[in-house]
Amino acid sequence: MIALEAYSLKKTYRLNNQIVEAVKNVSLNIKSGEVVAFLGPNGAGKTTSIKMMAGLIKPDFGWTKISGINPHKNPSALENIGAVLEGNRNVYWRLNPQENLEYFGVLKGLTHNQARKSGIALLERFSLQNKRRTPVQQLSRGMQQKLAFAVALVHQPKILLLDEPTLGLDVEATEDVKVLVKEIAASGCAILLTTHQLNIAEQLADKIAIIQKGEIVTELPTDELIRKFSGKTYKIEIESVLDKERIAKLDKINVEVEGNRIIYISQPELIYQVFNILEPLQIKIVEKLEADLTQIFLKLVKEGNR
């Protein structure tokens, strides 16, 4: 079952007499239980895309449907959306978790009793029962984020939109969020999450859509994306720091340089050319890599920039 469909979404803003194309052409389909990550650098159009799908920003072109209903035309579509938005509090700090869940449950179409029951179950599921009567402003950042998740799920939506869900969280809270996302997807809810954190996308997503300058540059199942680039990559780490001349030479032959010490070579035939350029610098490590998402992402974003 398709939980979310987006077709040719486009959004342009006028900013100080300049036209900014925030989103040029974004199309996406997400099935129930599927986790899709929108991966991209800052300003790529992730948040604008996700808010268009939630009905919070009106697209200039294209349409979006949640379980077959367009949220811009029919507000009943909102009964099937839950969202945790970045940069927002998402919950009321003066109320406690139980009160927040009951309030937002009603706001999303439940009766008070339904919201209360759902709230109690979610508090238990998210290990917040002990804090259910503590005003949210007194909770840790991680607990506040877990509550935001709970509030987004109180009405059992078909799709959960998460905008940078782990941003600003410590390691423990991030791990909690990752576990939650997997559990929520396993229960049948479709999830679209935006992130610029590659390891989050790699660990959580079934499918990754890399977005750059408002357009999806690639969209593949996660393991297929990694497989596409794997098996051929070499990593060379040198003892000292590369000088500008050597960096320019390496750049010319389309080889990735990271942090002035690490070189990634995705075309194995170039390896001896790279050694010639590096001579006589001391080499620390030479290894063959299974490409990870970092490299894929950097490569695709760099190609997008060209």
Binding site: Y13, G55, L78, N88, L95, E99, L107, K108, H112
Partner: protein, 257 residues
């Protein structure tokens, strides 16, 4: 919609119980301002200071002004603070739609606001010696004023939604509002009287002053005009807000700049 109203009512009472200092300080501050003005006027006028019905009329006008302030703070001020703290977008994700949410919230908070006003009124009556009539029919012009107040608050709310900063706008409106609600437009004649009927809340406020300060009977024609005035401004306010919501979504500024 009833579920939404009760949810908002619960929230309003939770916050009142949990943070009573805010309401108490509002009551004290509002009573003190009027009493301060009253004592000041008495000092200026000297021993011949006798306001009679005029004091009662001013008290009614002042209380209506306080009510309108509460309504504006709740809707327009509330919108702005929700945008700043980051819960506004969650409200716009409600299947009820933002207009219904803010309307039900306004009505729910009204119960608390009316209670505060009754307490403030009681304090002012005690301090100034004012005496007012409280006929049950006063509820009718009161509703007409409320309709206009909500309409006005939604207009300011629309501006808040698009510009986000109405902190300077609200104080600027406070004094013209006080003027509108305290001057006895019901005693005017001719063209000024006709023009006064077009200003929001003025016909209803005039009726309330007549009923409560002077003990006059309810004039049905003026009541009809007051209701038309209230309904028209209410409709304008809601329409403005719906347009503002569409614009904010088009410009992508629902949550911030």
């Amino acid at each position: 919609m009833l579920e939404l109203f009760f949810a908002e009512l619960r929230c309003s009472w939770i916050q009142f119980r949990r943070y009573p200092v805010e309401s108490i300080s509002q009551i004290i501050f509002t009573s003190a301002i009027f009493y301060g003005l009253f004592v000041g006027a008495g000092y200026v006028a000297g021993s011949s200071f006798q306001l009679g019905d005029r004091l009662d009329s001013l008290v009614v006008g002042y209380m209506l002004w306080v009510l309108v302030n509460f309504v504006m703070a709740n809707i327009a001020g509330g919108l702005q603070s929700e945008a700043q703290t980051g819960t506004l977008e969650q409200l716009f994700l409600s299947r009820y739609g933002a207009v219904q949410v803010f309307l039900m919230r306004g009505l729910a908070y009204l119960t608390l606001e009316v209670l505060k006003i009754v307490i403030i009124l009681f304090i002012i009556i005690l301090l100034t010696g004012s005496s007012l009539y409280f006929p049950p029919l006063l509820i009718l012009p009161f509703i007409s004023v409320l309709l206009g107040a909500y309409g006005f608050a939604f207009i300011i709310g629309s501006i808040s939604l698009l510009l986000k900063r109405v902190q300077q706008l609200i104080p600027l409106l406070l004094f013209p509002l006080l003027f509108l609600l305290t001057i006895p437009t019901e005693t005017w004649t001719g063209t000024p009287k006709f023009l006064a009927l077009l200003i929001p809340m003025t016909p209803g406020a005039g009726l309330l002053r007549s009923l409560m300060a002077r003990g006059d009977s309810l004039d049905l024609i003026t009541l009809t005009i007051a209701f038309i005035n209230g309904i028209v401004y209410f409709y304008i306010g809601i329409s403005f807000f719906k347009v503002a919501e569409k614009q904010a979504k088009k410009r992508g500024i629902l949550s911030g700049y």
